[in-house]
Amino acid sequence: MNLYLLAEAVVAFLLVAGGIFAFTGSLGMLQFKDFFMRLHGPTKGTTLGIGCTLIASMLYFTVTQGEFHVQELLITLFLFITAPVTGHMLAKTGLHMHLRFTTGTRGSVPEFRDEDVGQSRVARPAKARHPWRSRRQKRRGRLPR
């Protein structure tokens, strides 16, 4: 009985912790100032949040049904394989697309970018305006090339 209670407490804790991590991950994605910073929330918080939830589920089913439920490990495995790649590729894409950094960002990137992108840009026709975004909101500045 005590063990059940303990398990229940752990499950509850893990659930709440998972929720909080997932929540903060998404919150970070919402409130950080530039894309690269926003990237940090989901790549970590969300992954761990899901991890906690999965462990909770594992524990819950193992305890309630009296047999081992470890399938959730698989989800964790897949998530740990795929989530960082997603983060990496998104960051790479952001870099490639000359996304704006928040002022005060340290370090230098142009060299990296040039390797990827080359020097010249291609002439393109005027871009369609996005319906929800006013002109003013459009990128306020880019890193000096």
């Binding site: 970070g28 690269f36 929330g41 970590k44 470890v70 960082p84 990496h88 960051a91 340290r106 990137v109």
Partner: protein, 165 residues
């Protein structure tokens, strides 16, 4: 032994597959074991062509230690980042760091990059075409050199040891 080698070109993969199978079916009944074993043999054979040679794990114990370290770091990083996000007063100082790579093997680079992405306030952004360095975005950067050193010590060296390269 040779036949064994032909049948099991990648024993680690086969083992992983067998374990995965048992996890999936949630059973260690003899039938599932046999089926899992068959699949663990057949699937690597089927996908042999796609399997570029990867370095073998030489020191499983070091790997286990490494995994634990990373898990710990993930939890730690998350708490840190969560606090950073939740407390509006602290202004993070983001920055880019170019991290010189001493490993050249794709798997190791991938593991390293992914580990970096998963851990303290860092996201790997780009691997140079010549694999000479890795660009890392840091959420809250104070000491560039310390960061590079820490990554070298904490992740790159163990990885090198695990795969002996």
């Amino acid at each position: 032994m040779k036949a064994m080698g032909r049948l099991l070109p990648t024993p680690t993969l086969s083992l992983v597959l067998l374990i995965t199978w048992l996890l999936l079916v949630r059973s260690i009944a003899p039938g599932q074991l046999i089926l899992g074993a068959v699949l663990a043999v057949v699937i690597p054979l089927l996908t042999r062509g796609f399997w570029e040679p990867l370095p073998q794990v030489r020191h499983p114990i070091k790997l286990a230690r490494f995994v634990l370290v990373v898990l710990y770091d993930i939890v730690k990083a998350n708490v840190q980042v969560s606090l950073l996000i939740l407390s509006p007063k602290r202004e993070p100082h983001p920055g880019f760091v170019e991290y010189p790579l001493s490993v050249k093997d794709p798997l190791t680079i991938t593991l390293l990059a992914n580990t970096i992405t998963m851990t303290p306030g860092t996201v790997s952004t780009n691997v140079r075409l010549d694999r000479s360095s890795l660009l890392i975005h840091v959420l809250d950067m104070h000491d560039e050199q310390a960061l590079v050193r820490e990554i070298q010590e904490r992740y790159e060296r163990p990885l090198k040891e695990i795969f002996e390269c």
